[in-house]
Symmetry: C2
Subunit: 105 residues, 2 copies
């Protein structure tokens, strides 16, 4: 939940913007934290969607009816968030700090 301290993507990593957006929660806009999927296949942080459903029994994205019982852990997204953030940090170093890598000849 500390993504706000991360710098914007450097221009060389603009191509990661799509994955960055997909891995964020549509409620809090932070990276998904304990991802839960609704029946309608939308994903939210566990806390965010539970809070929302306690107020209104529908998906905040598509308005399909939804209950807490329907929620299913989408654990692969938690793993992808970790992997993505580590890769992004690593790539920021490569594209900015390293000497150019010559293609194999």
């Amino acid at each position: 939940m500390d993504s706000h301290v991360e710098a914007d993507l450097p221009p060389a990593l603009a191509c990661l913007k799509g994955a960055d957006t997909l891995l964020r929660c549509p409620i809090c806009f932070d990276f998904l934290s304990i991802s839960m999927m609704t029946k309608c296949s939308h994903n939210f942080c566990s806390l965010c969607i539970r809070k929302f459903l306690s107020y209104k029994l529908q998906c905040p994205v598509c308005n399909t009816g939804a209950t807490e019982d329907d929620l299913r852990n989408n654990r692969i997204l938690d793993d992808l968030v970790l992997s993505f953030r580590a890769a992004r940090q690593q790539l920021s170093k490569v594209t900015f700090d390293s000497p150019p890598i010559s293609p194999k000849t």
Copy 2:
């Protein structure tokens, strides 16, 4: 389903290996194609898991009981596969073809 023609990750992109692995189907080892999630939160290509379940009613990863009716589309993974493959191709160009990018001073 054409990932086999893709080159291995260049060394500068080794940090993408984790995401690459997560986005592959545990049955066919190709990138997920029409991702379906079981109740136990494991993901497979739609065709791969339906074929498997017609033979045995359990998850191929953790052996929990599973049926076709329990499957839920995990569409965000299809979007992530597309986004990841595009980014990887783009980054291969950046890390191999471009002049070095100087850090801002």
